[in-house]
């Protein structure tokens, strides 16, 4: 157990930790309101909640007082995450912790701009880890008793080592705050920045099944391979494509080149082989 002097030491350490954490947190202002963000890399990658940046741009203010424009790189509405780029370099950035080894009862700190008040720290413990039954969603959250309000959204939840274990994203009942686990943030960034096969078609779900091409981008892989408007895409690399979601999944998970695309045109099945372009979503 802690000795008498350890309590003073713990308190001092918490104060130091808070100062260093606040250097790594930004305030984000959009037409929608105020939120918070975490400086994820020294080169200006900022991570926040998707709902904090409803548009493609937002005002970002660092603790040192610099106000810059943040540009949306990627968003994931399912996880409620967004990545922004800010035109600043050599920033203090966070270290990412292992959200998988979080324990109920461990101390946590949250930083952010509750109601637009800058540089606010709240502390508490991890209340639970896992899905929240009231949300009827399989997504896991780190639940904590830290006191958060609107404006804290997108700010970091850190352990006592200062490592980010989650991104504060909502308050479910007063005093029960939910954070997206840092592992989900890492997965989001990996997905956003991984090069993916890109066809260059605009598609819609066809009522008869399959995916209907409604537009072909000039100069794209699709155009080069001869894909035409109103072609009905049926399969990619022998995987059936029954919806736009199927097509996205097939492109995301297949090894990029070459792609075998089976389609239906004027009642005839056609098999095309094409060399897709590689792009990142971000």
């Amino acid at each position: 157990m802690l000795g008498r002097w350890s309590v003073f030491a713990a308190s001092d350490e918490a104060a130091e930790l808070s100062q260093r954490l606040l250097d790594r947190v930004v305030m984000i202002r959009s037409r929608h309101g105020v939120g918070s963000g975490v400086i994820w890399s020294p080169s200006g990658l900022v991570v926040t909640n998707s709902h904090v940046v409803p548009q493609q741009e937002a005002e970002v203010r660092t603790r040192s007082g610099e106000e810059v424009r943040g540009t949306l790189l990627a968003r994931d509405t399912r996880r409620d995450l967004a990545a922004l780029s800010i035109p600043l370099r050599d920033l203090p950035s966070v270290e990412v912790g292992d959200s998988g080894s979080v324990r109920v009862g461990q101390l946590v700190l949250a930083a952010g701009s509750p109601f637009g008040v800058r540089d606010v720290i709240t502390a508490g413990v991890v209340t639970a880890v896992g899905p929240v039954s009231a949300l009827r969603s399989p997504l896991s959250f780190i639940q904590s008793d830290v006191s958060l309000v609107p404006g804290n959204s997108g700010g970091p939840l850190v352990d006592v080592g200062g490592k980010v274990i989650g991104l504060n994203s909502m308050v479910i009942t007063p005093g029960l705050s939910l954070a997206v686990p840092s592992a989900e943030v890492t997965a989001f960034l990996q997905e956003a920045f991984r090069p993916r096969a890109f066809l260059g078609v605009r598609v819609v779900d066809a009522p008869v099944g399959g995916v209907m091409v409604v537009g072909v981008e000039p100069g794209s892989a699709a155009e080069r391979a001869g894909i035409q408007r109103f072609d009905l895409l049926l399969a990619v690399n022998d995987r059936d494509v029954r919806s736009v979601g199927d097509l996205e999944r097939a492109l995301r998970t297949s090894s990029p080149s070459p792609l075998r695309v089976r389609l239906l045109r004027d009642g005839r099945a056609i098999l095309l082989e094409l060399e897709p372009d590689l792009r990142t979503a971000a």
Binding site: A9, V94, V104, G105, V125, D145, G161
Partner: protein, 301 residues
């Protein structure tokens, strides 16, 4: 910006250790629809203490142990005044709490509230106040209370407030407080549990199954009723005190001993030992009309 292991990290680890250790005797209690609550293993042979107001039924109560085993629980006794109930499950070798010495519980000490409405949950706070004799919302008179600022989440009722050594300081029951974190001190709870176990707290019994219903606005206006809710009788045990009083399936029980009833817990709180064996007036809504009856509560065995 990771940090070397310091006093703060040590404190954090120890708090998580306390939760893990105390979590071995915190159980889930299912005795109301859709809203599981918590309970505490009181003895290695399967005695479980729960918050009385979380028991909306007396049959088909289930207790889920920390290892995930779900057991059918028997209701041994209940004390609505203290918001305490004693259950039993068929199990052996269960972990149970060490009780904090009341003389060592101090205002300002760190405390954790634990619950297991689904998985184990915990919140952190301090002991905010210690108090003496008080009257509970359900009419009981208790000799002491412990107040804490640790958040009590839905389903925490019946769970423990523990100190940093993982000892039981109090049983959480926000029902008693109307919101804030109030608890029954461990020593008081122990005395009451002993009384419950030895049958010292006898309870009245009617032999009915009820569920709360809303009373239609127009009906209220016509009969001049102020209450918006009452208890619908969905079961009347043959030969029971309710049956002998002439209560019928479908009757809506409005008041017992001139106290309005809006939920099963209201009736439970009124079925005290002093009402056993004497006629008690009840008001019933039957076929759209008010009816006054008398019932003689029996004693729950």
């Amino acid at each position: 910006m990771a940090e070397k292991q310091g006093a703060l990290a040590e404190l954090s680890d120890q708090l998580a250790d306390v939760v893990e250790a105390a979590g071995t005797w915190v159980v889930r209690v299912d005795a109301r629809r859709g809203h599981p609550a918590s309970g505490i293993v009181w003895s290695a042979d399967g005695r479980i203490v729960a918050a009385d107001h979380t028991l909306e039924r007396e049959e088909d109560i289930r207790v889920t142990l920390p290892n995930g085993e779900s057991h059918r629980a028997r209701l041994l006794a209940r004390d609505p005044g203290a918001d305490l109930a004693l259950l039993a499950v068929e199990a052996e070798g269960l972990a149970s709490p060490v009780l904090a010495d009341p003389s060592e519980v101090r205002v300002g000490q760190i405390a954790l509230a634990l619950g297991r409405p689904s998985g184990l949950m915990a919140s952190l706070g301090v002991v905010s106040a210690l108090g003496g004799r008080w009257r509970t919302a359900t009419g009981g008179v208790l000799d002491a209370y412990v107040r804490s600022d640790a958040m009590l989440y839905p389903g925490f009722s019946g769970g423990p407030l523990v100190d940093v050594r993982g000892r039981l300081v109090a049983i959480n029951s926000w029902h008693l407080s109307g919101g804030a974190g109030f608890g029954l001190p461990a020593a008081t709870a122990q005395r009451l549990v002993e009384a419950l176990a030895s049958g010292g707290v006898k309870r009245g019994y009617l032999g009915i199954a009820t569920q709360p219903v809303a009373i239609d606005e127009s009906l209220r206006a016509r009969l001049g009723l102020s209450q918006g809710r009452a208890l619908l009788l969905v079961g009347v045990e043959p030969g029971s005190p309710a049956d002998r009083a002439g209560l019928l399936l479908g009757d809506v029980l409005l008041a017992f001993d001139n106290a309005e009833l809006s939920g099963p817990e209201d009736l439970q709180a009124l079925l005290t030992h002093d009402r056993v064996g004497r006629p008690v007036p009840i008001r019933v809504l039957r076929g759209g009309q008010l009816t006054e009856l008398q019932v003689v509560p029996g004693e729950r065995s």
